[in-house]
């Protein structure tokens, strides 16, 4: 089991990093030929960066669109962020002090994440409009995240696992040493699902995480009369013309 999970996590990390790297490179490479910020938009590039920052941190547009959805999405994402930060302790020795500081709140993060996910799932099933636009992969993604959260919470609340050994396993992986992983079915399920999430990340709608930084309607400054904006392929057209 140790070897299986060691190989699985090396593979998952490699796929995640390479896959995301290729996608980000693609988004950066493809030009945005026209200025298309959704207006009113900030007039400066720093203002546009702030706008993207607000979208990422506060879900500004979603707040305008739908308040209940905003609450569910916030609960899930903030909860997830807290849980991920808390899990950093499995990869560090000694543990960073901010991570230690967050330790007592991790449990609430886990609960918020599960509550948010459950609400998102119910909404997807109950509201006819959302059910209409939902495909198998949309439900699968929510189920995967719910299962990860639930199995993690089970280990915290119900059936504890040997977290010292888990930590040794991951610290070992980071220096290419295989150290034994506890033979605990709940842990195995949790880790397997996390690896699955990492593997599907670059091929799924989870690309919204890097993608939002490249969204032209949000990251462009509103200054087309002052600065001429020209994509490389459009510049080639210009040269052919003259």
């Amino acid at each position: 089991m140790t070897t299986f999970f060691a190989i699985l996590f090396y593979t998952a990390v490699a796929v995640l990093v390479a896959g995301l790297g290729m996608k980000i490179a693609q988004y950066a490479r493809v030009p945005a030929p026209l200025k298309i910020p959704t207006t009113p938009a900030p007039l400066t590039r720093s203002g546009a960066a702030m706008r993207v920052g607000r979208e990422v941190a506060l879900f500004e547009s979603l707040f305008k669109a739908n308040k209940p959805l905003w609450i569910f999405a916030m609960a899930f994402h903030l909860g997830l962020a807290l849980v991920v930060l808390r899990h950093l302790r499995y990869f560090q020795d000694p543990v960073w002090w901010p991570v230690t500081l967050l330790q007592p709140f991790g449990i609430y993060g886990g609960l918020a994440m599960l509550a948010g996910l459950a609400a998102l799932l119910v909404r997807r099933i109950v509201i006819a409009r959302i059910a209409y636009i939902s495909g198998p992969s949309d439900y699968a993604m929510l189920a995967l995240l719910l299962a990860i959260g639930a199995s993690g919470m089970m280990m915290k609340m119900v059936a504890h696992t040997d977290i010292i050994a888990v930590k040794m396993f991951f610290l070992g992986l980071m220096v290419f040493e295989f150290r034994p992983l506890p033979a605990d079915p709940l842990l195995a399920l949790h880790l397997f699902l996390v690896a699955a999430l990492m593997l599907v990340f670059p091929f799924s709608k989870l690309l919204h995480a890097p993608g939002i930084f490249f969204s032209p309607t949000r990251n462009q400054a509103d200054n087309p009369r002052d600065r001429r904006h020209l994509a490389p392929w459009a510049a080639d057209l210009d040269r052919e013309r003259t």
Partner: protein, 503 residues
Amino acid sequence: MADIEIPTLGDPDERAIPCLKPGAMAASKPYVAAPAHNQALGFPGELVPDWHDKAIGRMGELLGKYRSLQVFMDICVKCGACTDKCHYFLGTGDPKNMPVARQDLFRSVYRRYFTPAGKALGAIGLGKLVGAREFTKDVLDEWFNYFHQCSQCRRCSVFCPYGIDTAEVSMAARDIMDTIGHGHKYANEILGKVHKIGNNLGLPGPALIDNLEGLEEDLKDETGLDIRMPVDDAGADILLVTPSADFFAEPHVLGLMGYAKVFHAAGTSWTISTKATEAANFALFIGSYEQMQKVAMRIREAALELGVKRIVFGECGHAWRVAYSFLNTLIGPMDFLDPRYPKPQHILEFTWDLIKRGGIRLDKSGNDGMVLTFHDSCNVARASRMGDFAGGQFVIPREVIKACVPKFVDMNPDTTHEKTFCCGGGGGLLTDELMDLRIKGAAPRMEALADVTKREGVTHMASICAICKAQFTKVLPVYGFDRETVVSVHQLVSNAIVLGNND
């Protein structure tokens, strides 16, 4: 029109989200372009035999040229924030008019041919698991119908947490359909007229000059003054580029007379060019950069030929988007123009500047008895700007209107500013065979207008877009309003401006 079911209007504060009516608008589609219309633009005359491969090839090209398209295809999480935002969905209840569902018509094909999961699962017939579909003739038909039920108004993009803009997707879809010879008659026929004659209406130079002389006589009768409408006047300061509807249609032409009065009162020399007798640029609607550049280039040529110092655009929504957001890209740099003025400038920026400086005088009694509201046109509101501050496109038209009329009232805030609703006829859909769609799509705007009419006694709704004006003239009567309820902003200026004694 008798058999069209007209939506009932309620309280805009409690706008009802319709129940899903799958297939409600499945039969709605514009006419397919004839070979002559397509070929005039360099597209194949009719659907080519190898359309499938050509379409996929073109999709790949566009994905490599437009970051918006590539990113938007990948990042939608199907959260549904957009599902109740489109006027065509609100008016028809057809679920494929929900922005995300409309995008998915395109995205499903993208996933099948451009993503690892879609390619792998699609090859064994399981594409459905990841939302991937074969590009069949049925799917193409669906594209033609539903990508011509999007007015590219960008309201959905305001609310999307990632800024996904369905307009970008529908433009790409129309570009692909043109590439395989399956174009949209209304848009392509009009673009052909622009290339051949110079404007959307197909109005040749001599007819235009004759018409403008008539308008000068009307102005003389009305004011007793020699207010000119100059054409091809080399050496004039300003080139006015305005939608050709301004030369003929009502209430558009009343706005044109307003521009002439403002220029006259300001003592500015200006001209219209017979080369650029059209501000509209329908190439935007079909998503063709090359066509858009070709149409825009007439403006550069006209400006250079006439040696003008400034370019001013008349009241037109999508034209202002192309002018404000794209002109510098398409035909720039415009070094030959006077750097002290915005390049280009909107007629409302020009008029507002004069009002602020006291360069023209206005007398509100010229609009006595009128209570105005303002319809923000989508392309001005969400795709461009006026003035030197964010949101100037909302402030400046309202300030000009308030300076001209005794009373101004805004409509429900969920239907104005960046949240404004499309008139129902934008994006190249202002064609009679789509009347059912146009009437239903106008419902949210009509609801908000009916509300202020009832509560505040609004008598008129001003607009700054030729398409909005034409669309409202048609659909207002359907909803029980007078067709003359819609007015040009410069029509109000025209009524209020004090001429002849400005010393």
